[in-house]
Amino acid sequence: MLLSSEKKTADMRGAYGDTLVELGSDDPRIVCVGGDTTDSLKTKKFGDKYPERMFNVGIAEANLVSVAAGLSIAGKIAFASTYAAFIPGKCVDQIRNTICYPSLNVKLVVSHAGLTVGPDGASHQQIEDIASMRAIPNMRVLVPADAVAVKHLIKTIARTPGPFYMRLARPSSEVIYADKAESFEIGRGNVLEDGSDATIIACGLMVGRALEGARDLKRKGVSCRVVDMFSIKPIDRELVAKCAKETGAIATAEEHNIVGGLGGAVSEVTAETYPVPVKRVGVHDTFGESARDEEIDTLLEQYGLTATEIAKAVLEARSRSRK
C-alpha cells in the first residue's frame, strides 16, 4: 500500500527545492523560472534565498520555458518548473523548437505528474508527458522514484549540459533509497532486487509497488528482479536486454499511459535486442478522475496501478515466456 503509515516517506518536491537552494549557493549560474506555482513546486525557497535569480512569469507556460531558453542562451543553468499538466502540456512546441533543437541548457523539472494529483481530476493528471518528451531529439527524460533519487539527479542534471525533463509526483513518496551514497547515472537503471524468473522495470512511484509485488511473488516461489529505470531516455538498453535474456519475461510499471511511456521504451529495446514477453502496467489509455487524498489508493486500484496488478502482469508475461 502506498503511503501506508508503517512506511517511511519523503517529499520529492521538497527535495527538489532544497537541492536547488544548495546548488544555488555553489553556482551563481543556477536560475529558476516559475509559473505561479513556486510554493507548490517548492522552488519558492530558492526565490527566498536568491530573489534576483528567481523569475515568476505567472500562468504563462509557453513564455516560461522560452524565457528559460533565453536565460540559458546567456549562460545560465535554467530550471523551469510548474505542474506537469502544463509543462509540457501547454508548450511542447517551445520545448521542441526553442530548447531541444539547439540543445539548450534548460532543466524542466515538473511535479504533480500522474494520477496521484488526486482531487484536481483528469485535467491535471498528466499521463502523456513521458511519451511526448522522449520522442523529441536531444531531450532526456528522468522519473525518479524517491526524494533521495531526486536530490542526486537534480545535482547530476545541473552539471550535465543540455535539456532534461524530470517528472515528480505530488504525494510524498516511499523511501526507496535509504543510503544517500546511492549511484544514479543517466542512462543506467538501478537493480534493486535480483531475481531469475522475471523482471519488473518500474519508474517513479511505481518502484515501491514493484518491490512489493516482487515480495508477494517471492512468497509464491517466483523470483523477480526489480529495476528502477529512472532514466527513461536514454534508457539502459544493455540492462533491459540482459534482463530479457536472463529472466525471460518483463513487466513494466509506470504512473503514465501505457502508450509511449516506460513500457513502450522497454518494449522497443526488447523487440530490437532480445524479444521476450512484456506486460505493461499503467493507465490503460484513458483519462483519470478526481479523488480526495485519502481516496488515492482506491483511485490507483481502480486504474490498475497496484502491486497486485504488477504481480499479475509478471505471471502473465511469464506464462508466455519460452524460457
Binding site: F55, A74, Q94, N97, T98, P102
Partner: protein
C-alpha cells in the same frame, strides 16, 4: 529634442542593405522557395542593427559583450542570412545554398552551437520557425544580462502575423513586469500574413496603444527609412525602467515593385530566369534630394517640412562661399539649426575653397553626406577629408564640374567613396539648364569607376527635371538633386509625384529591355502586369499588355 545627425554613414548603409536584398532574392530564386516578402520588409531593420547600431563582431560571434539579435519572425531567413553575410559572418556566395540539402542555411535559422555546426552559421543565437516565441527568449537573455550587470542589449525582431500568438502577449506582460530597459523589440508592421491582410485575418490595431498599455515605451517609424530607425534606436538607448517597442511601418516585399504589398509574395520564390532582372531592379534605386536653395530663399525649415511629407529621400544643402563659386548661400551654422527640424539625411554639397580647413564645422553640424569639389582639393587633402568623414560616420563624396575630367587621383580613393556628384550645370546659381553633354561622363563614371572598386552612388546635380531625370537615370545616376523642379512651381506634391513617375517609367523600360534580352519578356510582363498597366502608354506596350490574359 530630436537627436539628429546619426553617425550612420547613410549611403554606405543604404548600399549594404541593397546588397542584402540582392543576395536574398538570388538565394530564394536559387532555392525555388523562401519568403521574399518578410526578407524585404525587414531589410532596413536588420541592416540598421547589424551594420550600424548593434555591438557585435563577426570575428568573435561569441564575444560576451555583444548585443543579441533574436529573429522571432524566422521566415525572414533569406534576408537575415544575407544581412549576416554582408556583415561579415560568412561569404555571401553561400546564400546561394539556401534551403538545399546539406546547406548550413536551413529554411529557418538554427542557433549555432557544437550540436548544429552543419546546419547553422556563427552569429545565429536562436532557432526560430515556430511563431511567437522569440520575444520570450529575448526576455530570458535580457534578464540574464541584468543579473550579470552587463551592458549588452537585446534586440528582438517580431512580425505582425506572429502577434496573433498569445505568447507574444505573455512576453509583453513579462517584459513590462521586469522593466527590461535592455530589451528593444522591433515590430515589422507590414500588415500582411500568409492568408492575407493582418487586419482581415486577426486585427492588431491599435498596435501602439496595445504595447503602451503593456508598459512598453513605444516609438513608431517608417521601417524603410534607416534614419528613422537609427533615431528610434538612439532614443531607445535613453529609456529607463521600461522595455522599448519600435513599430516599424513597412511594406512587404519592398524593393521589387510587383512583390510589394502583395500577400501572394509572402512565401513564394520568383522564377530563377527572372533573377537578373530582379537584381537590376534592386540595383536601380532612385533617391530624390530636393535642394532647398531653389525657389524662395527664406524659410528653409518650412521647405524641408513640405518635402518630408512627400517622402523624399534626403535634403540637398548647397553651401556656396562666394569664392569657389560667385554666389553665397549658407554655412555650417545654418545647417546646425536646420538639423533639429528633420530626421531626413542631410546631403551637404560644399562649393567652397579649401574644404579641408572647414570640414570640421560641417561634421559638427551633423551632416550625413558631405561632398567636396575635386577642383578644390588635392589628393592628400581629399584623403584626409575622407578619413575624417568616415571616422565621424559621414558619407564622403566628391563633386566634378562639367568642365572637369575625373582626376587620376580619385582612382586611389574609390574604396571609401560613397557618392560622386557629376555636375550637370556649372555650379553657383540655382535654376540653370541641364547640360546633356555631361551624360557620357555619367556613363563613364558609373561603369569605369565601378570596375575600379567604386561601390557608391552617382548623383546628378543641376537642371534636373522630370525629363532630364530620365536621361541621367539611364546614364547611371541614382541620386537626383531637384531644385526648381520641386520648389519652382508651387506644387511640391505634384512635382515629386511627377519625378517619381518618370523614374518609374525609365526603370520599367530598362527592366523590360533586360527581360527581352534574357528571352523572358512575356512572363516578366505577366508577373509585372499590375505594375506595367499605368505606364503602358508611355512604354508603348498597350497592345502587347492587352494580349496578356
Amino acid at each position: 529634442m530630436i537627436d539628429m545627425g546619426f553617425n550612420m554613414r547613410y549611403l554606405d548603409l543604404k548600399r549594404r542593405i541593397r546588397d542584402v536584398r540582392m543576395w536574398a532574392i538570388e538565394g530564394i530564386a536559387e532555392a525555388g522557395s523562401g519568403h521574399p516578402g518578410a526578407s524585404f520588409s525587414a531589410a532596413e531593420i536588420m541592416g540598421t542593427l547589424y551594420f550600424r547600431r548593434m555591438r557585435h563582431d563577426p570575428s568573435r560571434p561569441d564575444w560576451d559583450q555583444r548585443d543579441y539579435f533574436i529573429n522571432s519572425k524566422a521566415h525572414s531567413a533569406p534576408g537575415f542570412y544575407s544581412t549576416l553575410a554582408v556583415a561579415g559572418y560568412f561569404p555571401p556566395e553561400e546564400v546561394r545554398t539556401l534551403r538545399k540539402l546539406g546547406s548550413r542555411l536551413q529554411g529557418h535559422p538554427v542557433r549555432y552551437s557544437d550540436h548544429q555546426k552543419h546546419h547553422s552559421v556563427p552569429g545565429i543565437e536562436y532557432s526560430g520557425g515556430s511563431e511567437g516565441i522569440g520575444l520570450s527568449v529575448g526576455i530570458g537573455i535580457a534578464l540574464a544580462n541584468k543579473l550579470d550587470g552587463k551592458k549588452n542589449r537585446v534586440f528582438v525582431l517580431i512580425g505582425d502575423g506572429e502577434s496573433n500568438e498569445g505568447q507574444i502577449w505573455e512576453a509583453s506582460m513579462a517584459a513590462g513586469k521586469f522593466k527590461l530597459d535592455n530589451l528593444v523589440a522591433i515590430l515589422d508592421r507590414n500588415r500582411i500574413q500568409q492568408d492575407g491582410f493582418t487586419e482581415d485575418i486577426m486585427p492588431l490595431d491599435p498596435t501602439k496603444d496595445k504595447w503602451a498599455a503593456f508598459n512598453w515605451q513605444v516609438f513608431e517609424v517608417d521601417g524603410h527609412k534607416v534614419e528613422q530607425i537609427v533615431d528610434a534606436l538612439n532614443k531607445a538607448a535613453q529609456v529607463h525602467d521600461k522595455p522599448v517597442m519600435i513599430i516599424a511601418n513597412t511594406v512587404k516585399g519592398n524593393g521589387i515593385r510587383h512583390m510589394a504589398n502583395n500577400p501572394q509574395w509572402h512565401g513564394k520564390a520568383p522564377p530563377k530566369r527572372h533573377t537578373e532582372v530582379l537584381l537590376e531592379e534592386l540595383d536601380s534605386e532612385c533617391l530624390i534630394a530636393p535642394s532647398i536653395i531653389a525657389g524662395e530663399r527664406e524659410n528653409y525649415e518650412d521647405k524641408i517640412r513640405k518635402v518630408e511629407r512627400e517622402g523624399v529621400d534626403m535634403i540637398h544643402l548647397d553651401v556656396m562661399d562666394g569664392r569657389f563659386v560667385p554666389n553665397i548661400t549658407f554655412f555650417a551654422d545654418t545647417i546646425k539649426k536646420l538639423r533639429r527640424s528633420t530626421s531626413l539625411p542631410f546631403d551637404a554639397h560644399l562649393m567652397i575653397e579649401k574644404p579641408l580647413e572647414q570640414i570640421q564645422e560641417y561634421i559638427d553640424a551633423r551632416c550625413d553626406i558631405i561632398t567636396v569639389h575635386a577642383e578644390a582639393c588635392t589628393e592628400n587633402e581629399f584623403k584626409e577629408i575622407q578619413e575624417r568623414l568616415i571616422d565621424a560616420g559621414i558619407s564622403p563624396g566628391i563633386a566634378i564640374n562639367p568642365g572637369t575630367e575625373v582626376p587620376e587621383w580619385l582612382y586611389h580613393c574609390l574604396h571609401d567613396l560613397d557618392v560622386i556628384i557629376v555636375m550637370s550645370v556649372n555650379p553657383g546659381f540655382a535654376g540653370q539648364k541641364f547640360m546633356p553633354e555631361v551624360l557620357p561622363k555619367m556613363v563613364a563614371v558609373s561603369k569605369e569607376l565601378r570596375e575600379h572598386g567604386f561601390r557608391g552612388y552617382v548623383e546628378a546635380d543641376g537642371g534636373i527635371d522630370s525629363t532630364t531625370l530620365q536621361q541621367a537615370y539611364d546614364a547611371g545616376a541614382q541620386i537626383f538633386v531637384a531644385g526648381a523642379a520641386v520648389y519652382g512651381g508651387g506644387d511640391i506634391h505634384g512635382s515629386v509625384i511627377q519625378l517619381r513617375h518618370k523614374a518609374a517609367v525609365a526603370l520599367e523600360k530598362r527592366l523590360l529591355s533586360h527581360a527581352t534580352q534574357l528571352n523572358v519578356r512575356p512572363d516578366w510582363m505577366i508577373a509585372r502586369k499590375h505594375i506595367l498597366i499605368p505606364y503602358a502608354n508611355e512604354l508603348g506596350i498597350e497592345e502587347e499588355l492587352h494580349a496578356i490574359k
